[in-house]
Amino acid sequence: MTESSTAATQDAPAPIIAISNVWKYFGSLPALQDVSLDVASGERVVIIGPSGSGKSTLLRSINRLEEIDQGSIVVKGQNIMSPDNDINLVRQNLGMVFQQFNLFPHKTVLENLTLAPIKLRKLSREEAESRALGLLKKVGISDKANVYPAMLSGGQQQRVAIARALAMQPDIMLFDEPTSALDPEMVGEVLDVMVKLAEEGMTMVCVTHEMGFARTVADRLIFMDQGQIVEQGRPETLFTTPRHPRLRQFLNQIL
């Protein structure tokens, strides 16, 4: 009995993100209710759900942009709520992409990518810039390195934002509705970059409304409603044979 359980824990590698029994309140309103979720290294997890279901709150809790009220979140073995762990160091390993891009408007595209590596990773300017140019090439906007973000389209800005997060060489990427603020014709170019990233084996947690993306990229699809994980599993299973009535209703509304 004991032997088999230890063997099991040795077989399964420790999750890179371990979310256990997390509660989060906004005032008296529970935004997260007893949410538990493990993400394995290299896994692509996509979270879907109606607005107000707590999916963004859950994602933002992982790098402590939201402080949870109960439960624990452990990232790469470090409890992010523990005062012993420097949250700023944990965050360097957690790339985050926002709905509103949030590029630094007073810095050029190149400077957006090099600021954190130079100041935090103590890279030399040359090293940071060559790495940044490589990333810009990867996201397909190397010709815009020296312009300011205001000169770029929304899709270009979001691709720069992804490159900026990658410049810190994080182990995990968090995406908070990365295509929701984009004009429809620009959604594709951003998703292409994310698919490429997924193919390279990046651990990704992504909140999105792009069901096509979820279907092709996700190893695991999570459906949240009213602050709870209602159903999870392989995307094809969830899309074709949803068990929970709320997921069925949600899919009917959006597909």
Binding site: N63, L65, N88, L89, R91, Q92, L94, G95, M96, F98, Q100, N102, L103, F104, P105, H106, K107, L115, A116, K119, L120, Y148, P149, A150, M151, S153, G154, Q157, A161, R164, A165, M168, A181
Partner: protein, 266 residues
């Protein structure tokens, strides 16, 4: 193209006193600023040419005062701007004690006239240490304007969208680095015009120190009047000199503002 909410121009900040800063995009030759400057300078020249006695004599008597006025203004700016920044940061601090100290400071200082503060600090300080009129003037003006500028800094910093600091924090910057590299450089743009305005208002308010026998422009004028009784002529020249100085300063602020708008994409 998305019109980003962050870095928007500071229409949140209200300015109630001080010279008006010319619009940096106003490049036409004839505008309020150039009319005022040309008018003031040419009036000054005309007066001195047409009636060298007494106008030229008055004009030559005042430069020592201009230097003192500048000295007080520059020293006060050097103290008030950092004080204002600290106050502004204190006002948005989550630390209750710091917040309370900063808020109380602003509340108290804003409720007392500058003239009273100048008197008060001059006589209060002289109970403990012998201070010159210039020193107490600089202390009083810095304290007063530090509080005003604290409000400007606070408004400028809170006008930067939360997404900016979230983006910086998510990269791993700590709170100080986020302020230093991301928020303040952007806030500078909204803060600069009203801070420049406060500096100009400060220059004008230095005229209050003349009552402590500090020989600034105003005090020099008063002593000149005391012997010659040329009230009208003297104060005409004084007014024109103040006007020329503030006009030049407001244009300087305007030029700096234009240079800070480099990343607008326009």
């Amino acid at each position: 193209m998305h019109d980003k909410k962050d870095g928007s121009k500071g229409n949140i900040i209200m300015v109630t006193e001080g010279a008006s800063i010319p619009d940096p995009r106003e490049w036409r030759l004839i505008n309020a600023w150039s009319i005022a400057l040309v008018g003031a300078v040419s009036t000054l020249f005309a007066l001195c040419l047409l009636w060298p006695e007494p106008y030229l004599r008055i004009l030559l008597y005042l430069p020592d005062g201009v230097l003192i006025t500048f000295k007080i203004t520059v020293l006060s700016i050097c103290c008030a701007v950092p004080l204002g920044l600290l106050t502004g940061l204190g006002r948005i601090s989550n630390n209750r004690l710091i917040n309370l100290v900063a808020s109380t400071y602003v509340e108290v200082i804003r409720g007392i006239p500058l003239l009273v503060q100048i008197f008060y600090i001059y006589y209060a300080l002289s109970r403990f240490v012998q201070v010159s009129g210039v020193t107490s003037a600089v202390v009083a003006i810095s304290f007063c304007y530090g509080a005003y500028m604290g409000e400007v800094f606070r408004a400028g910093i809170t006008a930067i969208s939360k997404g900016q600091s979230e983006a910086a924090r998510s990269l791993g910057f700590n709170g100080f680095q986020t302020m230093r590299y991301v928020v303040l450089p952007q806030a500078m743009r909204t803060i600069l015009p009203p801070v420049g305005n406060e500096c100009i208002a400060m220059l004008k308010d230095t005229s209050l120190v003349s009552i402590m026998a500090v020989p600034d422009i105003m005090q020099r004028a008063r002593s000149f009047v005391g012997t010659t009784y040329l009230y009208f002529e003297t104060y005409t020249v004084v007014a024109l000199i103040y006007l020329v100085i503030t006009l030049i300063l407001s244009k300087t602020v305007s030029i700096m503002e234009a240079r800070l708008n480099y990343y607008d994409g326009k």
